[in-house]
Amino acid sequence: MKSLNSRRTRAIVVAIAAGSLALTGCSENKGGSSDKDSKKDQKEAAVQSKAVTYGDAAASTGPAEAVPGAKSGGTIQVYQEQGLTHLDPGQIYVSDAGQVANLLFRGLTNFEEDGKGGVSVVGDLATDSGKSSDGGKTWTFTLKDGVKDENGTAITSADVRHTVERQYASFIFDGPTYLQTWLSGAKYREALPDGGFGKKHLPDDVLETPDAKTVIFHFKTPQTDLPQTLAMPGYTIVPEKTDTKAKYDKAPVSTGPYKIAEYKVGKTLKLVKNENWDAKTDSVRQQYVDGFNFDFGVTESTQTSRLIADQGDSKNAIQLTGSVEATKIQDVIKNASVNKRTIKGYQPYVMALNFNLDRVKNKKVREAIAYGVNSKSLIAGEGGAYGGDVAPNLFAPTLPGYEATYDPYGRLKNPSGNVAKAKELLKGVPAAEKKLVFAYSNNEQGQKRKVAIEDALTKIGIDVVSKEVDAASYSEQVGKLDNPYDMYINGWGQDWPSPATVVTPIYDGDQVADGSPNYSHMNDPQVQKLIKKALTQEPTEAAATWKEAHHYTLEKVLPGAPLWYTKQFQLYGSNIGGARYSTESSYIDVTRLFLKS
């Protein structure tokens, strides 16, 4: 789940981004104007919509390819505004904790990047990305030799079983639910209420561990995305003997290159080398630096000022999931020596003005708004071309199936809105239907969006009644089925590079419920039929079905007006080596960093 406007989004969600990502920041930034960069981003995004590949045993064998010029030693300073919500792997579903998880934890699989836009899934603790049989209903993984937790205890298939089963326990509630749902259905918790901590375990026809090295998943329907699903931080391994249930969230046991030396929730986190991590077993991560010191509570403004100044400890610092503050973007791009210390790229989020379809029933009104909204002014509030790009449709540039020129509402031609067309559509619409309640978050970002929406929609003849909503509970409030609002801005991004993780959660009628990300309450039989069809198809076949579902949704239903694609723009200190944009996380790649001196 990747809602951009949830309480979890203060640390924007892990983006298992696509190989399709623009990767404008994968190589060293040479500077340049925002317009040029933006056009380059769009061009590269448009041509790189390729699917993730699955790596074999050779690709999964460590050590990871050395980073040119890398040195060992030193400690990297990490700046982050908000503390981590969770550190229990089972609870991790957001990007800040996901970034940390990539240093601390290992799963059966992981994403590997080639620095040129290619992303593959490789075996992490497993010898490869998994072997499927029975048409994708059965998946077998074999554990590598020599993989241990931080205590030096070997990781076995029992630990994998435990990791899966504990996801059914009630104290795990914030992590991904894909695997559990695929194994045991929507009401998966009923299948194993005690999460495997008692005598009851998942039966062998669901999860099989015939020996210490082998793990076999049995699904009722083909799950061709499983290797990508298992690469999510939420499915990294919790060694059975170390599990302290709810307490694990504050003191998890490492299986990755670093372990926790000290953790003060919301204040500091110190990571040091895990001596029991063996580089020969890991084809993705490096262990160049001695450790990472995380300082929480450092605002994005301060992060940016410190990194621009590049003094003292800031030379060794990175932003974890924070971005260059919007007001300081020009300071960065106009200074060549600073601009070359940036990484940029598309994030997987599409921001949309969602309509509450239970209230805004007149499609002409929705269409008028889709034509009339001003993406340009909204993007200006996000930092301009470095904060986002005009979104002509509901598929992000990071998603396989992205169509750069699919623009049913003329957004690319009229990024500031087509007022004449919108007014024409509203002719004859009763005044009562043109009076709409817009919910906005009561933070700085929400205020900017409110002004832009009010301004654009008033011009086309909509009577906008703006209602302020508490920022901390914004998603909760607009996520209620009987909410009193007509429209609200939300963002969504894929969990891994498949439209299945976008169309299904936000446009499937089966997902309409309180707290569901189907904010528009869309429940269209045709779209549901297409979703069901695509989920059982091979990726290449499914692509056409997803495209059909996307087009139908946007043109025939119109649950929301696409506004903009979000972009990442981060800064790091001058002594940081190996920095590059991670297409997997949509943030700085933390697995290969070193200090130059």
Partner: protein, 325 residues
């Protein structure tokens, strides 16, 4: 004196109880609750009830309040272990005992408070006294003018300027940070010097004006005039007769200011990205974390009350005319 302290202490306990009650009931009346926020994306009514039960939010409000307040005196038992008195509860958000979290953040807040207090008392009161002593002179005009200008500044304005000039542009100093004084006294002073000075600057202006006017007032008192008429040396009159009397309003305001600073200098901590009590209060409110918010509120209120009592005691020491009865 003993009766006075006893009476004021009893009053302070009652006041703390009332502050706790007000905070608690205002928080409970807030539109959203922590259980809903913590419930996650697949929140079911059953799960919401589980969370409410785990957090004790399914208990009657009066019971919750009593558990919290009694825990301060006798401690409380939580599933994670015993929380020894003074137990301020367990944070909903972090799961840590609130008292432990406050104690972790308090050294920074104390450091900022004491450091800035030393600066603004020495510089502010000193400049004010000097201005009063040299009333009408250039020194007086400069001190008065400067205090007028500085008193109009705010930390959120002066702080970023100081950072830009001293850290980001010139690199003369490093980013503010807290190093325990027990580990590295020099590092402690250097790390916090910018926030201390910025915070002190705002207060210095206020104390300069207050000290000046208070001293001028004292210098016009009859006993001071009498001392002068008797031919006493100017310095003797100044320090022996006028100075002590002029401290009364300064001590009063100092008590209020220090207690407020110990309760958390929110703006200072946010401006300089420091993690003290003020930041903790903001976090508590943002996360709808009732125990943390309650804990920080009571902790701050405790200092306000204690320092008020101390101020009353200091009155008697500074000015024997004041009787504690």
């Amino acid at each position: 004196m003993f009766q006075f302290i006893l009476r004021r202490t009893a009053g302070a306990v009652i006041t703390l109880f009332l502050i706790g009650a007000a905070t608690f009931f205002l928080f409970v009346a807030a539109p959203s609750d922590y259980a809903s926020l913590a419930c996650g994306k697949d929140c079911s009514p059953a799960r919401l009830e589980d969370i409410r039960h785990a957090l004790g939010l399914d208990q009657p409000i009066a019971t919750q309040f009593w558990d919290f307040m009694s825990g301060i005196i006798v401690g409380r038992d939580f599933p994670d272990g015993h929380c020894a008195a003074p137990c301020l509860g367990q944070s909903f958000y972090s799961g840590d005992f609130v008292w432990d979290t406050i104690m972790d953040r308090f050294p920074l807040t104390v450091s900022l408070t004491i450091g800035s207090m030393v600066v603004f008392l020495v510089v502010g009161v000193g400049a004010g006294m000097l201005a009063a002593y040299k009333r009408g002179s250039t020194v007086d005009k400069v001190a008065t003018g400067a205090s007028m200008v500085l008193s109009s500044f705010q930390i959120y304005f002066l702080g970023p300027i100081a950072l830009t000039v001293l850290v980001y542009s010139t690199g003369w100093m490093e980013d503010p940070k807290y190093v325990p004084i027990t580990e590295d006294p020099v590092g402690w002073l250097v790390g916090l010097s910018i926030p201390m000075v910025v915070m002190a600057t705002i207060f210095t202006a206020q104390y300069t004006r207050m000290a000046r006017s208070s001293m001028i007032e004292q210098l016009q008192e009859e006993h001071v005039r009498t001392a002068r008429a008797k031919g006493m040396a100017q310095k003797y009159v100044f320090f022996r007769y006028a100075w002590r009397g002029s401290l009364i309003p300064i001590v009063t305001v100092l008590g209020i200011d220090v207690s407020a600073l110990l309760g958390g200098g929110v703006v200072t901590e946010l401006t300089f990205s420091l993690q003290g009590i003020g930041r903790l209060a903001v976090d508590g409110a943002q996360h709808k974390d009732l125990p943390l918010t309650m804990g920080v509120m009571l902790f701050g209120a405790f200092f306000i009350l204690i320092l008020n009592i101390l101020v009353d005691i200091v009155y008697a020491v500074v000015d024997p005319r004041v009787r504690l009865s």
